[in-house]
């Protein structure tokens, strides 16, 4: 009788292993390699990978970039987007229209700089993420389908450029899911993703 409290006697290394235990080792080993292969293969053939270029950038420098970006951006309004019409001149203020395919997101305690923004469905944008102060959590989901959500970590001092293309038009809600201080629960922002056919109308171009 072998007890885990006593030293094993004799040549325990060469003792036979139960047949079913051996089979299990095979199954568990194959599964381990299989899920490794799938994860690594998915970076090649899959469409959802948390991968993008990163750069070191001081928060002040990033802030300057975001300023320039915002100056070059047109604006439109939530009401125009929701009603699929052109914005009136007075309305134009609360939603950014990115001047190119680069979209800057700039969280600080406790708001999402760069948001809300309006994007065209099916177009690939480079989402730039960097923080002004502490770490934040970029957590995005379409309003109507809460289970389709993703989360990325945002650092101060690092700019992460993650390409994204929102296939379905809709309102995508952003909240912060990394603790960033008292007030953290109130951080929220929005991506408005509109049908390409309506994009020009609602952005007033």
């Amino acid at each position: 009788m072998t007890s885990p409290l006593d030293p094993p006697d004799g040549n325990w290394w060469d003792r036979a292993v139960n047949r079913r235990e051996t089979i299990w080792l095979g199954i568990a080993g194959a599964w381990s390699l299989g899920i490794f292969a799938w994860m690594s293969g998915f970076t090649r053939f899959g469409d959802q990978n948390p991968i993008g270029e990163t750069y070191d950038v001081e928060p002040e420098a990033y802030a300057a970039t975001v300023d320039t970006y915002e100056e070059n951006a047109e604006t439109t309004s939530t009401a125009a987007i929701e009603e699929s019409r052109a914005p009136t001149e007075e309305e134009r203020q609360d939603v950014l229209v990115p001047p190119s395919k680069s979209v800057y997101v700039f969280p600080r305690r406790f708001s999402w700089g760069g948001l809300p923004v309006v994007l065209e469905a099916g177009t690939e944008y480079d989402i730039h993420l960097s923080s002004a102060d502490v770490q934040h959590g970029f957590s995005v989901r379409p309003e109507e389908s809460l289970s389709q959500q993703i989360n990325l970590q945002v650092f101060p001092g690092t700019e992460w450029v993650v390409p994204m293309s929102f296939d379905e038009p809709g309102t995508y809600q952003v909240i912060c899911n990394e603790f960033c201080g008292q007030g953290h629960a109130s951080m929220h922002g929005t991506f408005y993703v509109v049908d390409p056919a309506e994009y020009e109308t609602v952005t007033g171009e």
Partner: protein, 578 residues
């Protein structure tokens, strides 16, 4: 009062300070036993403190109750909960596990008892400091929560306390190492018993983790002290997770060691294959610490190759090792019980087991729930792409409550009960209440963890916030679709806390008011036929293990199903990433 406490540390020892345990047959020296009790009791105190905060945290997250608002100190409460339970309850217990796995199993005295006491003292000082600096946090500073991520403005003293605690743990672990060295000196060619071997691997992994922790907190410390001007969030996270996850590996290894130990003593398990079980421990030694990287899956600045290699523990070397134990431990039980003729058929060995023994029930529920809930969710969320959908959601909280709060805590509760019976030699004040603990806690915490996972994955509810489900301040958007699930989760967390309180009641009550155990009480703990019935070790492999095999196949089926479902959910998302 003092007399009551000193009495707790007494037993009948012979002139050399040894006694023979009437349950395990181990030769126990006073020095080892006293220190196991010391660390074990301290752990229970930490658990009580952390448990009180489980109440305020759980009743805040149940927004219908909404106990503590974000600006009324919720994050302080959450920090107290995390540090007292995950760090202090666990690490004090782990030092006790090392002393059991080393000196007690080997039948030696504990060497360097002064060092052990000093280690305990430093740990206590560190723990008090951490509690103090969290609790007295003032307006300007930030609560650390578990992770104390820089550049949050976490008080300098907090980092100091954390460093102190880790240093203390290293000091307290030294006597264990020395006892292993002494054993090896005396008998170089001898093989350590499996439990001592497991404890030794636990020790090595603990040292690696603690060094990482000291590095992380020192880095933050010198920054908060103004010695360096800037601090890099990514580097801190890498260092931090060496301890942040490393401490979970310590929990895991200590727990597995306890599983081998308790299934043997109260269930009659044997070792199905020394070679296989020891190889699995060795694989942990090499691979498990890589897994810390799975906390960095959605961090910028790390290459995909680095992340994939590390999160997979090098091709799932450590997950494979866990699946080996997942077979080996129940198989040991099956083989041991079959050899004794206890129960035939596919599962007779299991159904005939001592389910009315709270120590046995705690151990088995720990094994099953850790594997099915904690293990599977851990591998899922540790896949780089799936992590995007799990990271920092409530599902993460569900995962680690399934592992540490459910699996490890249950195993350690079983161990505390065992120590009360065999070392403190007290009967439970109520056998019924004692038995309620494993059943009630497993059910409540099991369901609670599962619901947390659902809430996180299906509704994207984040962790670490006091209010988002019913209302996100300043926004019309909310996650209120998840509210119905909270109606079940809330009461379940409350129930888990109540059962936790029953555990404390039984443990403390029995220590203070339980009757002394007699020889027959001790015998009643043992599996039928005693601990060491006849039967050759050569024949273990030939015993049927089909019950275990079936259970493992069910496990694998659940694993594969959940894996496919999670990936399906992921591919429903818009396209992300280069």
């Amino acid at each position: 009062m003092l007399a009551t406490i000193t009495r707790l540390f007494e037993n009948d020892y012979d002139e050399d300070g040894f006694r023979t345990c009437s349950v395990t047959g181990l030769n126990i020296h006073r020095s080892a036993e006293v220190h196991v009790k010391l660390f074990g009791l301290t752990a229970v105190i930490a658990m009580i403190v952390g448990g009180l905060f489980a109440f305020s945290v759980a009743m805040t997250r149940w927004e219908v109750v909404g106990l503590i608002g974000e600006f009324e100190g919720y994050y302080r409460h959450l920090s107290m909960h995390a540090w007292n339970l995950l760090i202090f309850w666990m690490v004090f217990m782990e030092i006790a596990v090392l002393y059991v796995g080393g000196p007690i199993v080997l039948g030696r005295r504990l060497p360097l008892t002064k060092v052990a006491k000093a280690g305990w003292g430093i740990m206590v000082a560190g723990a008090l400091a951490v509690n103090y600096f969290i609790w007295t946090l003032s307006g300007g500073s930030d609560a650390p929560l578990l992770t104390a991520y820089v550049p949050l403005d976490v008080p300098l003293g907090f980092y100091g306390g954390a460093i102190l605690f880790l240093l203390g743990a290293t000091v307290a672990a030294l006597p264990f190492l020395v006892s292993i060295i002494q054993q090896k000196r005396e008998d170089w060619n001898g093989t350590l018993p499996l439990v001592a071997f497991g404890a030794f691997v636990t020790f090595v992994i603990a040292v690696q983790a603690i060094l990482g922790g000291i590095a992380a907190f020192s880095y933050a410390f010198i920054w908060q002290a103004g010695i360096i001007d800037t601090i890099n969030a990514g580097i801190y996270r890498q260092l931090y997770w060496i301890i942040g996850h490393g401490s979970q590996q310590i929990n895991l290894l200590a727990m597995i060691t306890v599983w081998y130990f308790l299934t043997h003593v109260v269930g009659g398990a044997v070792v199905a294959s020394e070679k296989v079980s020891r190889t699995a421990f060795i694989m942990y030694l090499f691979f498990i610490n890589l897994g810390a990287a799975h906390h960095l899956m959605v961090d910028p600045g790390l290459s995909a190759g680095w992340r994939i290699f590390n999160t997979s523990y090098a091709f799932y070397g450590a997950a494979f090792a866990s699946m080996i134990h997942a077979f080996a431990i129940p198989a040991g039980l099956e083989a041991g019980r079959r050899q004794r003729g206890l129960g035939g058929g596919l599962f007779g060995w299991l159904t005939s087991a001592p389910w009315k023994n709270p120590i046995f029930a705690s151990t088995i529920f720990s094994i099953i729930l850790f594997g099915f809930l904690g293990g599977i969710t851990g591998v899922l969320m540790g896949q780089m792409q799936l992590n995007m959908t799990w990271h920092n959601t409530y599902a993460t909280v569900g995962h680690f409550h399934a592992t540490v709060a459910l699996g490890t805590t249950l195993a350690f509760m079983g161990l505390v009960f065992f120590v009360i019976k065999t070392m403190f030699q007290r009967n439970f004040i109520s056998d019924r209440l004692a038995l309620l603990v494993p059943y009630g806690y497993a059910a409540a915490m099991g369901l609670a963890s599962l619901l947390m996972v659902y809430i996180g994955i299906l509704y994207g509810v984040p962790r670490r916030t006091s209010q988002v489900v019913s209302n996100i301040i300043g926004s019309e958007f909310s996650l209120s679709a998840a509210e119905p699930l909270f109606l079940i989760l809330g009461p379940m967390t409350l129930l888990a806390i109540i059962v936790g309180a029953v555990f404390v009641l039984v443990a403390v009550g029995s220590l203070l008011g339980g009757s002394r155990t007699t020889e027959s009480d001790a015998q009643a703990l043992l599996p039928q036929g005693g601990l060491v019935p006849d039967g050759g070790s050569d024949s273990v492999h030939a015993v049927e293990m089909r019950g275990t095999f079936t259970l493992c196949l069910v496990f694998m089926a659940a694993f594969v199903t959940l894996y496919v479902l999670n990936w399906f959910l992921l591919t429903q998302l818009w396209s992300i990433g280069a």
